[in-house]
Structures are given as C-alpha cells and as structure tokens.
C-alpha cells in the first residue's frame, strides 16, 4: 500500500510494462475531499520543454460510493473519460499510455454529482522522459 494512504484504500500493484519509456519514474498520490456538486481537479505535472510524460497506471479509491466520473486529460485532449460508481478501488488500464507533450499539464478530474462531499484517494505512476 502506498505511503500516507488512508485506512480504506486497497492495495495496488504497478506491473512492469515493456512499452514504458525509460526516464524518471515517479508516483503521485493524494487524499482529498471533493465537495458536493463539484469536481476535484489535480494538476499532476506540467511537462518541461523537450520532455514528455507517459502515465502508465492510475487507481482511485473512495471511502463510500459517490465519485461517478473520472477524466484523465491535458490542456488539449481527454485521454480517458469514464463513468463509475466508485465505491471500491478502480484501476485504470495500465497497458494504455497517455502521452503528454511538452508545456502541457496532465490533469485528473474526479466528479462528484451528489449533494454531500466525498473523500477520495488517488495514486498514479508516470515516466517523464526526453523526446
């Protein structure tokens, strides 16, 4: 289980992928409250000139049901836009590579359409490499 994760998260694994570029590997994690009828937006990383980011794996966990939609995007494109009733761990397919070009920012959006706030935990892995 990731460091600083709350008690109600589930264990996740980071599979090795041959498609993954060589570069600086990192993981990004956070626990946050998404207020009622709002979406939480996480700016994961803004990519420096001459570099590229590949997101390899992401997982979202919710203490109770409530987060219904998840988007992974940069400033221009949405890479993934999925609807869930996230009451347990949701793994985003790690086989897919979401390339983010230089000067763009990788963002994760978590939508809470309900009238009460929800606690969420998210973790994702990425590689920032030279083009």
């Amino acid at each position: 289980m990731a460091v600083d994760s709350p008690d109600w998260t589930r264990p996740v694994w980071m599979p090795e992928s041959e498609a993954l570029a060589s570069g600086t590997k990192f993981y990004y994690s956070t626990t946050a409250e998404v207020p009622a009828t709002s979406y939480g937006e996480i700016d994961v990383a803004t990519i420096a000139a001459g570099r590229r980011l590949e997101l390899s794996f992401a997982a979202v966990s919710c203490e109770v049901s409530g987060i219904q939609r998840l988007r992974i995007k940069d400033d221009t494109f949405a890479f993934l836009d999925v609807w869930y009733d996230i009451s347990k761990l949701v793994n985003i397919p790690y086989q897919m590579i979401y390339p983010v070009e230089a000067t763009k920012t990788l963002k994760v959006q978590l939508y809470n359409y309900d009238a009460v706030a929800r606690d969420v935990y998210i973790i994702l892995n990425g590689v920032e490499s030279y083009i």
Partner: protein, 34 residues
C-alpha cells in the same frame, strides 16, 4: 459550469444536469529510484 452527463448510479443509468464547481486538489509527487 453547467454539465449534463449520463452517469452510472449504482448500476442504473441516470442523467444529471447541474452546476459544477471546480475544486483544486494538490498531491505529492515522489520520484522512484531504480
């Protein structure tokens, strides 16, 4: 921003249309040593 979306509500489709506010979340990036 008003959003219309078809969501999965406990296994049943539900159309929602409501005002949504953005809430910025910050986290921690940690590099992984090989």
């Amino acid at each position: 921003m008003k959003i219309t979306a078809l969501i999965n509500d406990k296994g049943k489709p539900r159309v929602v249309e409501q005002e949504m506010h953005v809430h910025k979340i910050t986290g921690k990036r940690q590099e992984v040593d090989e």
